[in-house]
Amino acid sequence: MAFLEVENVKKNFGGLVAVHDFDMTVEKGEIVGLIGPNGAGKTTLFNMIACFYPPDSGRVVFQGRDIVGMKPYQVCSLGIARTFQVTKPFLNSTVLENIMVGGFLRGSNAREARRIAMEILELLNFSDKKDAMGHEITTADQKRLELARSLATKPSLLLLDEVMAGLNPAEKVLLVDLLRRINSQGITLLTVEHDMRAVMSLCERIIVMNRGGKLVDGPPQRVANDQQAIAAYLGEEYVAT
């Protein structure tokens, strides 16, 4: 029984098949990357695991429990947290208050929520910005805020949706390091990414998607050398003969 099992999942949008017959597993404590060209179905799959919408068929089993049909807030209770690709900070609240919203899931009152939020701020070296307003902070900080908020819900599985997008190389290095630290605290990570360097350095295992299906599933080195993966991303002509 794996930590997360996606079994034979399909999703259509009208006539478009976004994901078909997709299987994957994630073991507890892993850092798994989900990559693929645009339109591969990564975001659709991601959203189904996060229960943003249900698959048309198939199962998503988390810690032995079929979560298909649950609402996002229910799976969050179970321990699945997610960030959004386009960050959604609560603009009219401070960074601390933003994180407290996450903290209230496990904290029984405001003091508890605040304590959890302060801990997270410490962990992410974010304490200096705690009183900044959501609309005042930079993109990089908004990403950190997304992360902080999700972490405050004390998840066991963290779903990251293109966290590297919009960051400069220096910021990316810091974020990769941060994610490793988070993982070392026992949180399993599943990340959708476009940034190859980040994925290669961060992930222990990479799943490549294309056209709604799985192409490769393995350690970074294997994926980097895989013919099909290269063909999918760069086109047939780049495949070494």
């Binding site: 996060a50 609402k71 996002p72 807030y73 969050c76 209770s77 947290a81 997610r82 959004f84 959604k88 900070p89 609560f90 603009l91 009219n92 609240s93 401070t94 208050e97 407290m100 919203v101 996450g102 209230f104 899931l105 009152n109 405001a110 929520a113 307003m133 609309h135 908020r149 999700s150 405050a152 819900t153």
Partner: protein, 355 residues
């Protein structure tokens, strides 16, 4: 337009305890003032104006809880009517003292408000507002045209209910002096504001602020938005229904046109929005400004040029909307913050450190 004040700390006039102890002091001072006013002000009409200020502050604050959930309700008068009719009918038919009758009315109001809101919350923006208007109007029209309701309850149609006079009878919520109503209304206002304040500082308050800021983000953080919006609506409805019972006991009459009409719903909403939408003290401030204005305008100018009082009231609203789009709460808070800058630094820093 970006609101530069923190949504989640829109507590007492926008401050939490450590941030501006001055704010709380000022509120306390004003409240103390209200407590002692009847010792100086004797005229029944002046006391009546104060009672109306507290009454609308109470209703506005109760109404505001739904705003906290991010919805604009323009049908709250219906709940007022439900509360008032319930307690009055219980008194008329069964002799139940309105002190208990109003609690029953609050329960009925809360339940009905919840039932109506539950499907309506899926509606965004103006559609919820329209639905609330529709609900209120349907209820009003029904009562207005029904002499005898279900189970033989005498609704008395358009004429409304007259509260049987008992003279000075505190046991059944009837007093012959204005002072008693004054303190009851003041207490109700205090209770409503306190409830609102406590909610804002609690999980419910944070969750409501999150929901109205970005519902999807909130759900991803474990917030059951429907549940919390419903909670806000039920509490709001129950409190508003209490206000309806007070209305009946103060005016001795309650009828569909006045108590359940659109005009009443709009008055309640206006007080809330003008004072500061989605803030704790906003409706109270709005009532303090608008209620005496409308009462006095009506008294002194109502007879003169037809509608002059309404014109001036309207002008006031236009001015507030143009220059203070976030309500009167905003500049008031800025003033308090500027004043607090003059308070000795040590005092504020000490309080900050304990947090």
């Amino acid at each position: 337009m970006v609101n530069h004040r923190s949504d989640l700390t829109k507590k007492v006039g926008g401050f939490t305890k450590p941030r501006a102890p001055l704010g709380l002091w000022m509120v306390g001072a004003v409240f103390f003032l209200f407590l002692i006013i009847p010792f100086f002000v004797r005229s029944p009409y002046s006391l009546h104006i104060f009672i109306m200020v507290f009454y609308f502050a109470f209703l506005g604050t109760a109404w505001n809880l739904v705003s906290m959930a991010g919805q604009l309700s323009l049908g709250h008068a219906a709940l007022l009517g439900i509360g008032g009719y319930t307690s009055t009918l219980l008194f008329m038919e069964w002799g139940l003292t309105p002190w208990l009758g109003m609690l029953v009315g609050a329960c009925v109001g809360g339940i009905i408000g919840g039932i109506i809101a539950y499907p309506a919350f899926r509606l965004r923006g103006p559609y919820f507002a329209l639905t609330s208007i529709a609900f209120a109007e349907i209820l009003r029209l029904y009562v207005e045209n029904t002499e005898i309701g279900p189970f033989g309850i005498p609704l008395k149609a358009a004429m409304g209910l007259l509260v049987p006079l008992r003279g000075h009878a505190p046991a059944v919520f009837q007093f012959e002096n204005k002072e008693a109503y004054y303190y009851i209304a003041l207490l109700m206002m205090f209770v409503a504001v306190t409830i609102c304040y406590l909610i804002c500082r609690s999980r419910m308050g944070f969750y409501l602020a999150a929901i109205r800021s970005d519902q999807d983000a909130g759900e991803a953080l474990g917030i059951n938005s429907t549940k919390y919006k419903l909670m806000a609506m039920v509490i709001s409805s129950a409190l508003t229904a209490l206000g309806g019972s007070f209305y009946a006991q103060y005016f001795f009459i309650i009828n569909p046109d006045r108590a359940m009409g659109l005009a009443m719903s709009i008055e309640i909403a206006t007080v809330g929005v003008m004072g500061g939408w989605q803030t704790v003290l906003g409706p109270t401030i709005g009532s303090i400004l608008l209620t005496p204005t409308s009462e006095l305008m009506r008294a002194y100018l109502g007879g003169a040029t037809a509608g002059l009082d309404l014109m001036i009231y309207g002008l006031l609203i236009i001015i507030v909307v143009l220059f203070l789009p976030n309500g009167i709460n905003d500049p008031l808070m800025r003033l308090v913050r500027r004043l607090e800058a003059h308070v000795p630094k040590t005092k504020i820093r000490a309080e900050k450190d304990t947090e």
